[in-house]
């Protein structure tokens, strides 16, 4: 087993490499991920189509590339959004520890850690309507709990220190103290606590798309490709297998990187 540092480098380079590949791929070889070519249905993997074509003659590699690219971009956006939400709410809860605000936020955080959210998200989305934006908004409101809990603990730790007390004595308003003195030291641990959210977001996104609730066709997505590929799996194994492998690769390397980051600090 290679050392931690080596593992981290391998995992990180797999993620970055995949992302770069998916971003650059459409510029190198252009096969439209959505254009239907009925003459090219169910081509097995070959030199012209590296991972074959699907039931409508679309190039599987191009579809995987554009689906994974979208998943990467939006997951990172949602991660940043949930991180800032967690920082704000966790900061407020920690600063006014014990107040009714803190109680409400704490209750929400504990609730989000205990509920079976996949089923609730699926139900909520099928009522509120589908789509990429809606699914990621709901996901963001689910995953802010981890950074919020971390921030709250750190704010409680920091706020009794001397320099914060000095700021109080100098008469700065509470929000300014929270923003300028307390939160800066609470941000790094919150980031580390919430990195583990990223693979979860990618996997949840794939799960929602699998149920037909995430990205809507014709825009390709990994989950939807897997769901469609299952229908023709005895005829053409590559349609479902390729997105599955890519999804697994992304999630495993993100998880390993996140875990090493958490353990080394």
């Amino acid at each position: 087993m290679p050392s931690r540092q080596k593992q981290y480098i391998i995992a990180a380079s797999i993620i970055v490499g995949l992302w770069l590949f998916f971003e650059i791929w459409p510029w190198v070889v252009y096969n439209s991920p959505i254009e239907i070519a009925l003459n090219d249905r169910f081509h097995a993997p070959s030199t012209s189509h590296w991972f074959g074509t699907d039931n409508l003659g679309r190039d599987v590699l191009s579809r995987v590339a554009s689906g994974a690219r979208l998943s990467f971009r939006v997951s990172i956006l949602a991660w940043l959004a949930s991180l800032s939400l967690g920082l704000i709410l966790g900061g407020i809860a920690g600063y006014w520890e014990g107040s009714w605000l803190d109680r409400i936020i704490n209750w929400l955080v504990s609730a989000l850690f205990t509920i079976p959210y996949l089923i609730i998200i699926i139900a909520a989305l099928s009522i509120l309507g589908h789509g990429l934006v809606k699914s990621y908004l709901v996901l963001t409101f689910i995953v802010w709990a981890a950074p919020a809990r971390m921030t709250r603990i750190n704010v409680i730790k920091v706020k009794t220190l001397d320099f914060v007390q000095t700021a109080h004595a100098m008469g700065f308003p509470p929000l300014a103290i929270l923003k300028k003195s307390i939160l800066p030291s609470a941000i790094p641990p919150a980031i580390i606590a919430s990195v583990a959210v990223l693979p979860e977001l990618v996997a949840l996104d794939a799960g929602l798309a699998f149920f037909g609730l995430g990205v809507q066709p014709p825009t390709p997505s990994l989950g939807k490709m897997i769901a469609d590929g299952l229908n023709t799996i005895s005829l053409a194994w590559w349609i479902a297998l390729v997105p599955t492998i890519i999804l697994g690769l992304i999630c495993i390397s993100m998880n390993i990187a996140a875990k090493i980051m958490r353990n080394t600090t």
């Binding site: 704490n106 509920i115 959210y117 794939a206 037909g212 799996i233 005895s234 697994g248």
Partner: protein, 298 residues
Amino acid sequence: MFYISLLFGLLFLNFVLFHIIPTDPARIILGPNADNAAVEQLHQELGLDAPLITQFGNYTKGLFSLDLGTSYSTRRAVWPDVASSFKITLLCSFSALLLATIYSLLSAYITFISDSRSRRVFTILNGSLVSVPSLVIAIAFGLASIQWNLLGFIHASDTRNIVMVILVLAVYPSASLSQILLEQTLKLHQQTYILAVKSMGFTNSFIFWKRLLKNALLPWLSQLSNIVVVLIGGAAIVEVVFSVPGIGRLLFQAVLSRDLPVLQGILSTVIICFITINILVTFSYQWLNPHKGNARAV
């Protein structure tokens, strides 16, 4: 106390969610071209013209008398369908948890009595299995079973598929629980009380099962309650892949046909079941370590 407030909060959310829908349920049933008189009549039939408070009363009353309404698409009562599919999901989840328990105990025992090489093997195995999404594992198992004709796959729904679902579902809990237990065993191994028992000449297996395990099980148990959350969500996806008629497939069909009473019924059942499991875990926590008191109940 936390769980009771959570229960009512979630049930209320569940009710509200279904009453702020932009679309009219009567329109979903009758189609977009229905005339207004028919829509009005259906409103009365479904009790949708009553004020919200009365509707909430009816909803809670329905929950206690197991009357969850009738499905829009199949026109059958919701509760029997939900109950029968929930039974299958619970069977799958608990068998998976049982497998995971056996695996984690065995792996901890093996590493306790043998050298550090087996420990390494288990660490690598758990570390890689714990981060694979259940969708990926399901597809991998499915492809393998097609390749070697092991089990009925997409089109046959029989007991072989249920076995498959159990195996797929067991992967994540096994890896995760085993990880926790291995860590704990290693930590407790160096404690003085274990050394003392060892120097008295007791056998390794006696020390592990009788002296070490109960202490190691505390973090294991809290991880177990986290896992139940992930497990039911994963079961939803895996059941669809293997077309096992569990709660996940019912949910999938309800989503496709926008069948609101079925969705609501599934949600209520899942919520109540969850809270019950969590309360049970809290109680067993107190049984394992009476000193902890009520610390976990927030």
